[in-house]
Symmetry: C2
Subunit: 305 residues, 2 copies
């Protein structure tokens, strides 16, 4: 029997790509998500459990028979400015509840989606290794750091293998052009319909095509013997947002109307992740260039705007 | 008018020494503690507020007119083995509530008691600087690390000056010989009454006399301009527990009955803190030798056993 993987948040943007890639690799995949409506695009072999991750018994039932859990749920985004206590209540505590259920169910491998785009903050000059100082600028990023600390302790205490992936800025098909994060599809829709684009400063970002990211999660399903590991997942390069706008203009064949604004408090100026460690640990490397990824994303965005 | 300081947990072992030292330095001191019964030993000039730190309005009222808050409350000890979620609920979340009240009351300086004895874990070889890797072995230590991360973010967002002190192993008068932590008074009582002492392995500890520690807290009341700083507070030396037993035997004039046991999971083998940074930042250095501190502690322990 193949190994069974539970994907929490498997109906989301990153989740649906992870689920598709894992199913393609022969894993038995079970999705746990709160919205059945978001799950239309998943492969038919995938088992779906609709539930709330605050519900311990629902989580416990979903974990039965699973070797690996991939945790992709987040109840906040980097732009959220609520108090830290809300981040702890809505993301950290439910994750600790999940870990208690994981220990009870004797699941041996946990893969967590942290955030290479927010945990490092502005303190360091890139490319950032996993050892760089952590200084998140938003509650979302603080929550990721807190969960990482809890996972380190959990791995040491229980012997569970834990992989923390720190993705840079993922983009691709399935990322809403009307959402609160994801510059590329948001810019595409605005350029396509003639709306203004606001550029806050001219930050550089490490844009990562979502199928490359999904492959990293699937490679982490195999587990490891180190107990706990943190791996950056990035494209290996950074691109200024105005260069991204130009690439989209070329793809769409329309000019953007750009409004320049000041730096936003929760944005980091530049973000570039060192990806040597994930290359060694998972034999992973990014495959899809930004131009190619933008073309594929535009093919999808066209179908939803 | 002198600067007013609110000491949360000012009735506790460390707190009562901090309160006494701060009052002696001319600060107006207000204590916030849940137990009026524990407050007998405080100087008469000290204002006392009895309340629960889960009660936001009680905290907010206590913060009125204060320039500095010293946060010494902990609802757990290193030996506690409950789930991490309980540590987060009982220590991290109430601290975040405190920080919200601090921001509302416009208190400009926060001093937090972290734990140099537990946050570093076993990963590093001492003396440990404040930059050493964090790897706590108990929920109590994980909670301290989580609060430190939250304080770093809070300082950056609000401009509040935050000093995190990481004390090694404090001991001295006022530390219960019947408590769940504090080897020195516990050993004293056991030796005095002829009970067996269990030594779990032979760990080395950095024992810090509580009045030296209290002086560090008082020096931090003056605040600083760096936003956020972390300072180890230690004696600058480590001592094997069996050497501590010998020093106590010499002080008391009785032989100990020692039972050797295996290493405990939540104990670190050795703990030695580098104290260069606090020497530079606060012009602080330890004054009381271990032999002298043990003599003073015994003078007090004799009065309560």
């Amino acid at each position: 029997m193949s190994s069974r993987v539970l994907v929490l948040g498997g109906g989301g943007f990153i989740g649906s790509h992870v689920v598709t890639a894992a199913a393609k690799c022969g894993y038995s995949v079970r999705v746990f998500d709160r919205q059945a409506s978001a799950l239309g695009e998943l492969p038919p072999s995938v088992e779906v459990v609709v539930g709330d991750w605050y519900d311990h018994s629902a989580l416990a039932a979903a974990l039965v028979g699973c070797d690996t859990v991939i945790h992709l749920i987040s109840c906040s985004v980097p732009a959220d400015a609520f108090p830290l206590s809300q981040e702890v209540t809505s993301n950290v505590l439910p994750t600790l509840g999940l870990l208690e259920a994981v220990a009870e169910a004797n699941v041996r491998n946990v893969v967590f989606a942290s955030s290479g785009g927010t945990v490092y903050g502005n303190g360091s000059v890139g490319p950032l290794t996993e050892e760089a100082a952590l200084s998140p600028q938003c509650p979302y990023g603080v929550g990721k750091v807190l969960v990482e600390q809890c996972l380190r302790f959990f791995a040491a205490k229980t012997g569970t293998a834990v992989t923390v992936l720190r993705p840079s800025n993922p983009y691709g098909p399935g990322q809403s052009p009307l959402g609160r994060q994801g510059a590329i599809p948001i810019f595409m829709r605005k350029i396509a319909v003639g709306e203004e684009i606001a550029l806050f400063g001219n930050p550089s970002r490490d844009f990562l095509y979502v199928e490359d990211l999904a492959e990293a999660f699937v490679l982490a399903i195999r587990g490891h013997h180190e107990g706990f590991r943190i791996l950056n997942v990035g494209s290996g390069r950074t691109t200024e947002l105005q260069q991204v706008v130009r690439l989209i203009e070329d793809t769409i064949g329309r000019r953007a109307r750009v409004i320049r604004k000041g730096h936003r408090e929760y944005d980091v100026d530049t973000n570039s992740l060192a990806i040597d460690r994930i290359g060694r640990s998972l034999a992973w490397s990014p495959r899809v260039s930004l131009a190619e990824g933008i073309a594929r994303t535009w093919s999808w965005v066209q179908t939803v705007i």
